[in-house]
């Protein structure tokens, strides 16, 4: 499998990253070489192998259902590039 410029464009769209034509060109080349590098895996037969689901030998440890967080509106909004007293503000969402 190899990747062409149109596919890179599509993936960039999915990733929400704007790319100008120059960048698109050079990145397409890089991505193609990275993908052929990982092609190596296809040499391996993994039909009978289960995928790894977690790297630590334990299962989820749930916490109790208690309220011990929140009520930190100022902290939450503090770093936002655009906000008012109560909300994060973003450019209009167009459906």
């Amino acid at each position: 499998m190899s990747i062409d410029k149109n596919q890179v464009k599509k993936v960039a769209k999915l990733s929400r990253i704007s790319l100008d034509d120059n960048k698109l060109q050079s990145l397409s080349k890089d991505l193609d070489s990275i993908l052929s590098f990982v092609e190596e895996l296809n040499k391996l037969d993994t039909k009978k192998t289960e995928p790894l689901t977690s790297i630590v030998n334990k299962t989820l440890e749930p916490r109790k259902d208690t309220i011990n967080d929140g009520k930190i509106k100022d902290q939450i909004l503090k770093n936002s590039p655009d906000k008012n007293e109560e909300f994060f503000i973003v450019p209009k969402v167009v459906e």
Partner: protein, 489 residues
């Protein structure tokens, strides 16, 4: 009573079309704190006051799962007679949106916590089983507010991270009516279990509706469209009907259906394509590496099962068997946990037959009129039981009882107090009654003669006069006995 026949088809000049519906219900889990963080879930808080660093996806923040939410999902699964998966996995569903701070939603994709189950609906044409495909836990998103400014969208993350159960049905539903029953049934079950409050105004229960059509008799499903985020049963019914008709129209004019996500415009009663200009959705699900597989012990499930409350279907069956209710009556009384509880409180101390009638007819009429929930009923179960007992014992007549009930609704008072204060106690002293009866007969000697010569219809007239004089309080049974006796002479 003969059963009605199912008859929901989109009929055109050429064809009769069957409508196939599947529902993805999003039910907000009742819990104190969020699915993966310790912030509160209370409805109606000021914007961004119930948000933690985890809910707003600050760098380095990690999710820790809420035990209670897992329990709630399992309980709901048990209530849907579903398979509980002892091993399940949390995945990330990746997409960008203003109210999705991490750029992904933690959900369950290939390995949900609950597998297949079913729900039984009581339809006029008999009972119908609707298959449940799965139930999984996921995070809710925040809220984007588009109407506070012309150029900007405002984001409130209070809802971000609240636990939802997504309950996916099989495509077994065939009409808006069935959808209505199905959603109500799910809601009833979850309310019995205390796992979701089902409050649609507050958004605790919403659904994505999948609709497709096929010619009657055909086996293959048509292409479906998904109508996103419909938040009332009425709108679901409208949306399905509208969407089905749109699809039929397209197909009959030789066009094909495009599989897509649509939005229901409640004002115009039409569905329209959403995000059509955008690229096809590609959520890139993969197991969330911040979380580990969720393992549940069978003993834990067994224990929850053992402590499950009686569910509506079981309760209904018991009511029919034990209390000799009709299926209709039983259905009405079990449709809400609070109603059945009310009913069972009343019949602890009062006659079952009178109780069910008083609740279904009189009480419901009042609650409906006042727009009250049964939990807010001005007439308490104990007071209603007292009222019913006053009827059974002959203390008051059924007619007077209605008067007393009206006053109870206004004041919330105990019936005996009202009966005493208003002097509504039934007149049951034979001597007193005899006096009244004789008075009526004496005043209407001509009519007595007519009666005796065969005009028996006048009997009712005498009763009416007697009741008038006694202000309705005369014991009808005794009046009958005495009157008949007097008229014989």
């Amino acid at each position: 009573m003969e059963k009605e026949k199912f008859d929901y088809y989109i009929k055109t000049e050429k064809n009769s079309w069957e409508v196939i519906i599947g529902l993805e219900v999003h039910a907000q889990v009742i819990s104190q704190s969020k699915l993966f963080s310790g912030s509160a879930t209370k409805f109606g808080a000021k914007p961004n006051t119930q948000v933690s660093l985890v809910d707003s996806a600050f760098p380095g923040m990690l999710p820790v799962i809420n035990q209670h939410c897992i329990e709630q999902a399992i309980k709901t699964g048990l209530g849907l007679n579903a398979k509980i998966n002892l091993h399940s996995i949390f995945d990330r569903k990746n997409y960008f949106y203003a109210d999705l701070p991490a750029g992904y939603q933690i959900s369950q994709y290939k390995n949900p916590v609950v597998g297949e189950g079913e729900v039984t609906l009581d339809m006029p044409y008999g009972s119908k089983k609707i298959g449940i495909e799965r139930l999984h836990l996921e995070q809710d998103a925040g809220k984007s507010i588009h109407d506070l400014s012309p150029d900007n969208t405002f984001v409130d993350l209070n809802r971000s991270g609240i636990a939802l159960m997504e309950i996916v049905s099989k495509p077994d539903l065939r009409s808006p009516n069935e959808v209505n029953s199905y959603v109500k049934k799910l809601r009833t079950i979850m309310r019995y279990l205390g796992t979701c409050d089902g409050n649609m105004q507050e958004g605790s229960l919403r659904a994505d509706v999948n609709v497709s059509v096929r010619k009657k008799g055909e086996k293959k499903f048509g292409t479906r469209c998904e109508i996103k985020n419909v938040n009332s049963i009425k709108f679901m019914e409208m949306a399905i009907d509208t969407e089905a008709k749109r699809q039929v129209e397209l197909l009959e004019s030789g066009k094909s259906i495009k599989q897509e996500t649509r939005l229901f415009d409640t004002k115009r009663n039409e569905t329209r394509s959403m995000r059509s200009k955008e690229e096809a959705h590609d959520y890139r699900y993969f197991p969330d590496p911040d979380l580990l597989p969720l393992k549940i012990e069978q003993s834990f499930v067994d224990n929850l099962k053992k402590n499950l409350p009686e569910l509506p279907d079981q309760k209904k069956e018991r009511f029919i068997k034990k209390f000799k209710l009709t299926p209709y009556e039983a259905n009405v009384l079990v449709s809400e946990a609070a109603t059945s509880k009310y009913f069972e409180e009343v019949i602890k101390n009062a006659d079952i037959k009178l109780a069910k009638n008083w609740i279904i007819v009189e009480l419901f009429a009042v609650l409906n009129k006042k727009g009250l929930d049964i939990k807010e009923s001005p007439v308490s179960p104990i007071n209603l039981a007292s009222l019913i007992n006053a009827i059974s014992s002959g203390e008051i007549s059924g007619k007077i009882a209605k008067k007393v009930f009206e006053i109870m609704v206004q004041s919330g008072d105990e019936p005996h107090k009202i009966i005493k204060e208003k002097g509504l106690k039934q007149q049951s002293d034979p001597k007193e009654l005899e006096k009244i009866i004789l008075k009526v007969l004496n005043n209407n000697a001509d009519k007595v003669l007519e009666y005796k010569s065969g005009k028996e219809k006048l009997y009712g007239f005498f009763i009416g006069e007697i009741m008038k004089i006694s202000s309705g309080k005369a014991n009808p049974k005794l009046v009958n006995e005495i009157l008949k006796e007097k008229l014989k002479k």
